[in-house]
């Protein structure tokens, strides 16, 4: 009887590139005292050019004008940035006055109110919007849309129809992939927090590297070609981050999670290429786009050329399948200022608005770019993922020009023990679930 079989599983190979991430890097940017008007201008200009080109196919008989050019009773199309006036939106002055508190001041919940109203703004002026075609519950500040309607006697713009930019053009997916290849997505490891179970993550690493299971299991693991960790890999004890100098025993508490993650990452990097993205709780900058975690945090993993520290948002190609994803801040912010039946609705909306984070810089921290808005989605991804969500969910959406996108909400690994595997051949995904509970019956 053979105990060990002769078969050696070779991991499948794939092409990888992340050239699109250049747009999210800010090393070359120089701050010259600019304010956010520049990024809003770039966003409005680029989106307006696009919407002007779509307007004739939408409603060809109507003239297009600026907000200042509106005349009472004249039906026309206007294009501008939406601003949602919200009664309950927290004021920045409150946060400033209690800056030194240890826990975040504003509890994340929804700031919506029935009295919220929308205003359309362009460089010439702003106009209040009326009518039920545009629901304030769905839209947020920062979305650029085209509106068909007319100015009322009250000086408001009565909206009859809305045109969103829609899904961007997509490069065709290669259809000749013969074999199943998987990309594993996970997020919310929260190493260092009390709720994180190190055994669960170790099981995942062992599965990915092929140290778990029988031959069939190893065969499945050999089909994994790439791993992405989408943010919140750390959770530092909050009481240590209060601006005081740390005692030396506290210092080791602070970098224990980092050492632990480095050990695990080096195990993964030895076998498969892995990308790590920063998240809200990670030691990276606060404002989007978050810059890659410093390589000196990972002395064990960074020598591997399979290890990549990436920006948040992160965009990459594997075998010409375009992936785009964030660590969740964009969707969480939408969840505070608008409503939807499921998180995937938010994700789909950002794609149809062609903007990853429309609430930046209004309520989401953002770098004040002057000449571009890096969050505009110019090419439609094939897989669009969002990390650190409460539960796993996925949806396949279709665009008007035949685009096909798989939307994925990645749950927090520390709470659910679930990672997501996406099949490059057909964009289907399934979960990898690790449980360490032993049922006592």
């Amino acid at each position: 009887m053979e105990i060990d079989s002769e078969k050696i599983h070779e991991r499948k190979q794939s092409d990888y590139n992340s050239l699109q991430d250049e747009r999210f890097e800010i090393q070359k940017e120089m701050y010259r005292g600019q304010q956010y008007s520049q990024i809003y201008f770039a966003r409005l200009h680029l989106m307006r050019t696009l919407l002007y080109s779509l307007a004739p196919t939408w409603k060809s008989h109507l003239p297009v004008c600026k907000v200042l050019g509106l005349e009472k009773g004249k039906e026309c199309i206007i294009v501008g940035t939406l601003f949602k006036h919200m009664k309950l939106k927290p004021c920045v002055l409150d946060e400033y006055s209690k800056e030194r508190s240890v826990t975040p001041l504003v509890k994340p919940h929804n700031f919506m109110h029935p009295d919220d109203n929308l205003i359309l703004e362009d460089e010439s002026g702003r106009v209040k919007l009326a009518g039920s075609a545009l629901s304030p519950a769905i839209y947020v500040t920062g979305v650029v849309v085209a509106l068909h309607g007319k100015e009322t006697n009250a000086g408001e713009f009565f909206v009859e129809d809305v045109l969103e930019a829609g899904l961007p053009p997509q490069i065709e997916r290669p259809i000749d992939l013969q074999e199943d290849k998987y990309v594993v997505l996970l997020s919310g490891l929260c190493i260092g927090s009390k709720s994180a179970n190190p055994l669960q993550f170790q099981l995942l690493v062992d599965h990915i590297t092929g140290h778990l299971g029988d031959e069939e299991e190893q065969g499945l693991a050999a089909q994994i070609v790439h791993v992405v960790i989408a943010g919140n890999s750390f959770e530092f004890p909050r009481k240590l981050i209060n601006g005081q100098n740390l005692a030396s025993k506290d210092q080791s508490t602070l970098y224990e999670p980092i050492k632990e993650l480095d050990i695990m990452l080096s195990q993964i990097a030895a076998g498969v290429s892995v990308d790590i993205m920063p998240g809200t709780n990670d030691p990276a900058n606060f404002a989007l786009p978050q810059q890659p975690l410093n390589r000196c945090l990972f002395p064990g993993s960074s020598p591997y050329n399979t290890f990549r520290s990436c920006t948040n948002p992160h965009s990459f190609d594997v075998d010409n399948i375009r992936f785009l994803g964030t660590s969740g801040q964009n969707i969480d912010d939408l969840g505070k200022y608008s409503e939807a039946k499921s998180k995937l609705d938010f994700v789909e909306r950002t794609l149809r608005w062609r903007h990853l984070a429309p609430t930046a810089p209004n309520t989401l921290g953002c770098y004040p770019f002057t000449d571009r808005d890096p969050f505009l989605i110019e090419t439609c991804p094939h897989v669009y993922f969002v990390g650190n969500q409460d539960k796993y969910d996925n949806r396949l959406i279709k665009g008007s020009e035949g685009q096909l996108v798989r939307l994925i909400c990645i749950p927090k690994f520390c709470e659910t023990g679930i990672a997501v595997a996406v099949n490059l051949r057909n964009l289907e995904c399934h979960t990898l679930s690790f449980s360490t509970q032993i049922n006592q019956s």
Partner: protein, 124 residues
């Protein structure tokens, strides 16, 4: 420092030149009285407060039609906000966004003899 005080008073009374950019070409309407003690050249020439750049009173005659042309470029709303960018950066952004800004502006900025920062830089 009576001279400085008078300059500042004149500064605050002034109306700003051409905010709407490109539509009206009128010169600033109110005059600032050139103080007697200042070493002003051509003291009967209208000196709008906009000359006070970077905290010092700019009293020489280099405020000429080239600077005027650059200021019109700054105030032109189609090219977006001007604060926080150098004029050349803003011109290059306008080119990248396909707005076809006039080439003379670029030539002027590249000569290096004109102010690289926009009209309001350092003052707002």
């Amino acid at each position: 420092m009576a001279t400085t005080a008078k300059n500042l008073k004149g500064f605050y009374k002034q109306t700003k030149s051409n905010i709407t950019g490109g539509i009206s070409k009128s010169k600033p309407s109110s005059r600032k009285v050139a103080p007697k003690h200042a070493a002003a050249q051509g003291s009967d020439v209208t000196q709008p407060a906009a000359l006070i750049s970077h905290g010092s009173v700019d009293l020489n005659e280099d405020y000429d039609k080239e600077e005027e042309m650059l200021r019109q470029f700054d105030m032109n709303i189609t090219y977006g906000p001007c604060l926080g960018m150098t004029r050349l950066d803003r011109w290059q952004r306008a080119v990248r966004l396909g707005m076809n800004p006039p080439n003379e502006i670029e030539k002027l900025l590249k000569t290096g003899k004109v102010q690289q920062d926009c009209l309001w830089q350092g003052r707002v």
